[in-house]
Amino acid sequence: MGNYLGVTKEQQEEMKHVLNIQSTDDLYRDIPDSIFQKEGTDLKEGLSQLEVIKIMKQKAATNTIYASCYRGAGAYRHFIPPIVDLIAQKESFVTSYTPYQPEISQGILQIIFEFQTLICMLTGMDVSNASVYDGATAAAEAIAMCVEKQKKHVLISETINPEVKMVLKNYEFAFGIELEFIPEKNGKTDLHALPSLITENTACIYVESPNFFGILEDLDTYSTLVKEKGIKSILGVNPMSLGILKSPSVYGIDIVVGEGQPLGIPLSYGGPYLGFMATKQELVRKLPGRIVGETIDHDGKRAFVLTLQAREQHIRREKASSNICSNQALCALRASVYLSVVGPNGFRQVSNSCAANAHYLAEEMFKIHGFYRGYPGEFFHEFVSVSQIPSNDIIAKLEEHHILAPLPLSENKLLWCVTEVNQKEEMDFVLSLLKEVSEDGIAI
């Protein structure tokens, strides 16, 4: 039905006349007959916009949108100020290309420059790139920054997000690097086991804090150990935690990465999201992806350009440090707008609210008979519960009330996530349901 062609049938005939052809098939003389699909009658027509919108609305409506959500594990439901959506829908931002022509792309370039600055402020690091695909690929790219010909051994904590773990395992196969896991102990990276795992070929170590179980790692010990051995340290962070928790730069971390989705990006069934990467000044030329820099134009006016392109694939081809060519500009824009409208105080407030709500829920939950904390140790807005009641029973109970249950980690372990959108009344309701389950469970 629709085809968005800019040319009418009549104009097509004029064009064919100019080209001196009878049929548009003549344009395809190079295609061998054996594979050429002639214009056929069996080609299906499309649908009108009205019909497509109707179908898509129907399909969207079959997906369950939970009234409340206690599942995180790498994707988080937060409040997104509507202005974020509206600015991210501006047509020029949506439809423009990578800003290769700076004279008519100052808008996008400045947006990326501001994003880089915001990420530096958030992490306390010196420099950031224009973003990469997601938190998992950011971790993989950070590792690629550290690996050298003679140093291909990489240590990764068992406590990192399993999605990230799977992506890194795949990169191991691709890059020919050697991954080794630092064991987990009580929900934390076992730092006592770390020294014996380090070899002279170890290039870097990757740890996340808060980790997959929500627990804050002992970053002081971690960074001291790593520094002693002269190995590069990579830290994965949840950006939302940095409203209150200590900046990674304080620990002397070399590369900070993370998933930027909590910063104004909807859950969207997992994508598109936003990988961010920040590092120290001395590693800037190893940083992959697009980077925007400030300069001046011929009249001395402030100008922004894509810079340090000598690192990139379109110049260096097989010698490039990464094959990355795009970034997540529109998602980076969302994060920038989010951080700009909430401001430093609003951001701290959201961060505090996540922590306070999560700690409230945890504290009240562990008063209920049969519910225990999975792991000791300080946490941000995720925690693990262990219960005598099977995980599936709890999930079913919450599901009855349109609540997206915590992520089951095993038959009796659940990973809970609480953010600023989970209000007290809602949490109290969940607690009452857990009490019911607990009593029913004990009655049996």
């Binding site: 064009m15 997906n63 501006k90 420059f113 690629a144 928790l245 402030r302 094959n323 529109l330 998602c331």
Partner: protein
């Protein structure tokens, strides 16, 4: 223009969430951030105006002709944005049970079905976030295939033509393969003799874009894939240039084993100022088992909302609309090319596919104006310049891809301007460096930007 940070006023703030209803949680000091965050302090109105001003400084497809060669800057239908913001698509968690998201399942299954049909593939994966990541997955499939056949150690070379996109060799090298470059003939086709020489038991496969970056369809394509297969290699199709041959010739029929598609080019999902895109990867049956081992190239399920948009496009156009778009992209490119031939030197002599390459090699020698100068001068006529200096094997190249969605009036206007700019520069080559004249900034100093990188704003102390 001022940055967000330069507009900050201490204490300015909008409220978004309620005060705490539960006790404040006090962390021990050792966890707490003592430093204050320097984020800007602005009102919503300040932020709204800031981004409106930035929008005016951003050139989108909504503002004018965007003939970036190799980028397929076709119209991005606006209703896709509305569909992609439906709560049923936006507010679902990636770790929800599959039973709770039949709509998401439909999006993936229907898109897979339609794209397999267009490309002649058996399976389609939507994991990769972008074309380059699609290549990455494709090469991993090939690598895994040889490993499973006990040839992982011996097949370490990958054949790539000299006209390829930079991502091809970069991807192959990342995956530990040695890049071997295959020469092109003067017509822009792959040099078959050279290919035969190189195709041996050490090759893992071939990466090829067809039509290639010179905008020509290689008539020997079936022979090429046959040579590679006979040597035991697999063939990877870079779908960057699929647009002109959709429902006309299928990569699967050409003999390719796996492919990637750029949903943000061919299937009209917006480029977003550099992303997010999506790089769907198609494969034939023989690679399915390998896929099950190497599929995880990013977290969760790929760029779901991008796939939603691509499906809107596929459903609206139907098979016929898809084919008509392909044909029109070729017709429009040839129409423009034909009319520019009397002024410019154009590489392709016969019909091109969806794009063509102008070279200003002679002009830069004889008159002193370069491809860059011509490109910058176009900007003053409210059009985005063509892709510059690509493909790298053509000196002083400008690569023009008008796409099927541009009107004849736009193409006619562009032809007129291209010729006018050419004549203006020929008459007055000294003025070349002055263009563009109408933009918020003039040509920036890119050399000093790279030499003394200033990559973030800092508070003046």
């Amino acid at each position: 223009m001022e940055l967000l940070f330069e507009k900050t006023v201490s204490g300015r703030q909008t409220s978004y969430i309620p005060e705490l209803e539960v006790p404040f949680y006090q962390y021990e000091d050792k966890y707490l951030n003592e430093q204050s965050l320097d984020f800007p302090e602005l009102s919503e109105l300040d932020v709204s105006r800031h981004y409106s001003e930035l929008e005016r400084r951003t050139f989108g497809i909504n503002q004018g002709f965007y003939p970036l060669g190799s980028c397929t800057m076709k119209y991005n239908p606006r209703f896709h944005e509305q569909v992609a913001s439906l709560p049923g698509f936006c507010d679902i968690h990636p770790l929800q049970s599959l039973e709770s998201v039949p709509g998401a399942k439909f999006i993936y299954e229907k898109s897979e079905e339609l794209l397999c049909k267009i490309t002649g593939m058996d399976y389609m994966s939507f994991q990769p976030a972008a074309g380059a990541q699609g290549e990455f997955l494709g090469i991993l499939l090939i690598k895994k295939f040889h490993e499973k056949n006990g040839e992982g150690g011996t097949r370490s070379k990958i054949l790539i033509p000299d006209s390829a996109h930079g991502t091809n060799p970069a991807t192959a090298a990342l995956c530990g393969l040695n890049v071997v470059t295959v020469r092109s003939t003067n017509e822009g086709y792959m040099d078959l003799n050279h290919l035969r020489e190189l195709a041996n038991t050490e090759i893992a496969g071939l990466m090829l874009t067809n039509p290639n970056t010179l905008g020509v369809f290689d008539p020997n394509i079936c022979e090429i894939t046959k040579i590679v297969h006979e040597a035991g290699g697999l063939c990877y199709y870079d779908g960057a240039n699929l647009n002109p041959i959709m429902n006309i010739a299928r990569p699967g029929d050409m003999g390719f084993d796996c492919i990637h598609l750029n949903l943000h080019k061919t299937f009209s999902t917006p480029h977003g100022g550099g992303g997010p895109g999506a790089g769907a990867v198609g494969m034939k049956e023989l690679l399915k088992e390998c896929y099950d081992e190497v599929w995880k190239v990013k977290a969760f399920h790929g760029h779901f909302l991008v796939v939603v948009r691509a499906l809107c496009y596929l459903l609206t156009l139907g098979e016929k609309g898809i084919r008509d778009s392909a044909v029109q992209s070729v017709l429009s490119a040839n129409y423009m090319k034909k009319q520019l031939e009397d002024t410019f030197t154009i590489k392709q002599k016969g019909f091109c596919m969806h794009e063509f390459v102008i070279t200003l090699e002679e002009e830069s020698k004889n008159y002193g104006f370069r491809a860059l100068d011509v490109a910058k001068a176009f900007i003053d006529y409210q059009m985005y310049p063509p892709t510059m200096y690509f493909p790298q094997i053509i000196p002083e190249a400008l690569m023009v891809e008008p796409t099927e969605t541009e009107s004849k009036e736009t193409l006619d206007y562009a032809v007129e301007i291209y010729k006018k700019v050419y004549q203006d520069l020929k008459r007055d080559p000294d003025s070349a460096k002055d263009y563009p004249k109408t933009t918020p900034i003039h040509r920036p100093d890119e050399v000093s930007a790279a030499r003394n990188p200033k990559l973030r704003w800092r508070k003046e102390t």
